[in-house]
Symmetry: D2
Subunit: 187 residues, 4 copies
């Protein structure tokens, strides 16, 4: 068994929350992985300790992490820093536009997670032509299309797979052995 | 008068070249700005010195600059480094997918240009709902849709505008005074 | 004449504030440039409008912008976004260690400034052997050594020079014509 | 048992090679981990397949990856891409100066490794006051001081520890159980 926390900060539009729900849905695709879906208002330090894997999401605000999510981590850093080393982690973000900074926000989240000593990854798979969560799952606005939803699910699935392989000791969960199509290429 | 160089490296698919052509088209939207459109095989050091403004493009290769474009700069750096300070610059890149690293590649190009002391910018405008070259113009594959083409043109236009305002001394060219619609918002 | 705002968020240690003071000192090296040195508690939206050039500093918190500085911008973005295009800007940050993320924090600040349409730059000069504010001025802890102080001053000086050249129309202020030594190389 | 590849590109100064040697030395601190130390001229695709963990180093050239190291990966990407998912990886780089882009180069290497689906990490430990490989090991010039050498060794040690914990199934190798001092803080 292993534990996954999907932690998100969602502005009043709720786009990042919707991404988080699809990420959590993807996590559930691997048997034996427990998932908690929590916003920054709900999550507590103990949830970080509980988790083997973490998917961290923020709206893209000015090309970076929302100040609320940043505050959540800044204020917890004195207690938890040095205690989270080695957890597996990934990121997701919704921006106002393609080209609008969602990759930058995922990168800022990646930097934050690396600061805590976590092992951070993206997903190589194309989930549709010209759509891939290479460095985290990204959306422009709300995840509406099947491809956008699948980008989020695939990120969660991959997180659950790495937790199964590396934490729960199930090498058969490796995505290279996966039954689903990982290779939809751009047209 | 001012001078703009649109410099691109295009893989065999030619997507970045097509972006470059639209960028150059956008530059032409400002009277009195001369433009040169050159690939890394054509451009020479003298073109860098000639330019007041530079739009630099590369295919997104593994989330970064193509080695051919990087080589072009690495090999010229001994001669030109310290001589290009203060030029105005921006970036563009085509990746295989949305979420596939085009923002990361633009960022890597931005870092390179800042290394040379240039002043680097993105474009605040939305060119269509959910499309904006905030940190450089980005495409997934070839620029085909009107929005993708306009993203490239707008980047070139903005570069020409800044060259007009700051190099040629034409404050009336400032985009805040522009007649075109800068405010198409995401739906 | 031109106007420069040095805006900083300083944690209780005050390291970023000290960097900001040296940056402001550097700005004063160019005659005819007015400077305001303000913290996030002091600065108001009108200071942004007033400024032609902006030096923006934050402590490096978890490899990024402090939540307080991020909040300052996030909350002002609805009013000021689209109104600050074309201002000249640069960044500075103090982290707990070399290798501790000060370049990442400057990059996050750069991304934020590009989001607002500003033209962002670093400084090519070496201010001492193995010390250069290539992508913004960086320190580990407090700026104590002459080199660390000079890194901050040079950043401010360069900002004032670009404001003189591009805003006040004084081409003679270009750093390539500068009397000071720009070329101290790493040993 | 697990396998670690230390792969580096070293310019004619050889600074990155020296870093690589210290990284490899650090890897050897964990019993049962095999290490290969190879330059881009020596390493082959089979070395990538062989490795469970990878430390990737490049000189900082213009704030990014050297074109030679980028070429090595760009040219291998067609064969190896999609085959390296889940490997554990970290980065190191030597720049000409503090503030000169070594963190940016490590970030560019991180982006490349994430593109291949690897799990990338930094090291939380301070190895001396004001010295830490938070996002990869960084040097200005050659690693000469004890702190600079230890930064490289600690990175290699951490890579070997994660390989022991996650690949070889040795939870006792986790750094939180380590006997060495992980907590030297900045003064």
């Amino acid at each position: 068994m292993s534990n996954v926390l999907v932690l998100y900060e969602s502005n009043n539009r709720g786009y990042t929350q919707k991404m988080a729900e699809f990420v959590a849905e993807g996590v559930s695709g691997v048997p034996g992985v427990r998932v908690r879906l929590l916003s920054n208002d709900q999550a507590q330090t103990k949830d970080l300790y509980w988790a083997d894997g973490l998917a961290l999401g923020s709206p893209t605000n000015l090309g970076g992490i929302s100040w609320r999510m940043k505050k959540w981590w800044d204020e917890r850093s004195f207690d938890t820093w040095g205690e989270l080393d080695g957890k597996l982690a990934c990121t997701f973000s919704s921006s106002g536009a393609w080209g609008g900074g969602s990759e930058h926000a995922c990168q800022a989240l990646t930097t934050l997670l690396m600061n805590f000593g976590m092992l951070v990854f993206g997903v190589t798979d194309y989930v549709a032509p010209k759509m891939s969560p290479h460095y985290g799952a990204v959306c422009a606005g709300e995840p509406r299309s099947d491809a956008e939803k699948e980008m989020c699910r695939r990120l969660g699935l991959r997180l659950a797979e790495w937790c199964a392989v590396y934490v729960a000791g199930q090498p058969g969960a490796h995505p290279k052995l996966a039954a689903y199509d990982r290779s939809i290429k751009h047209s």
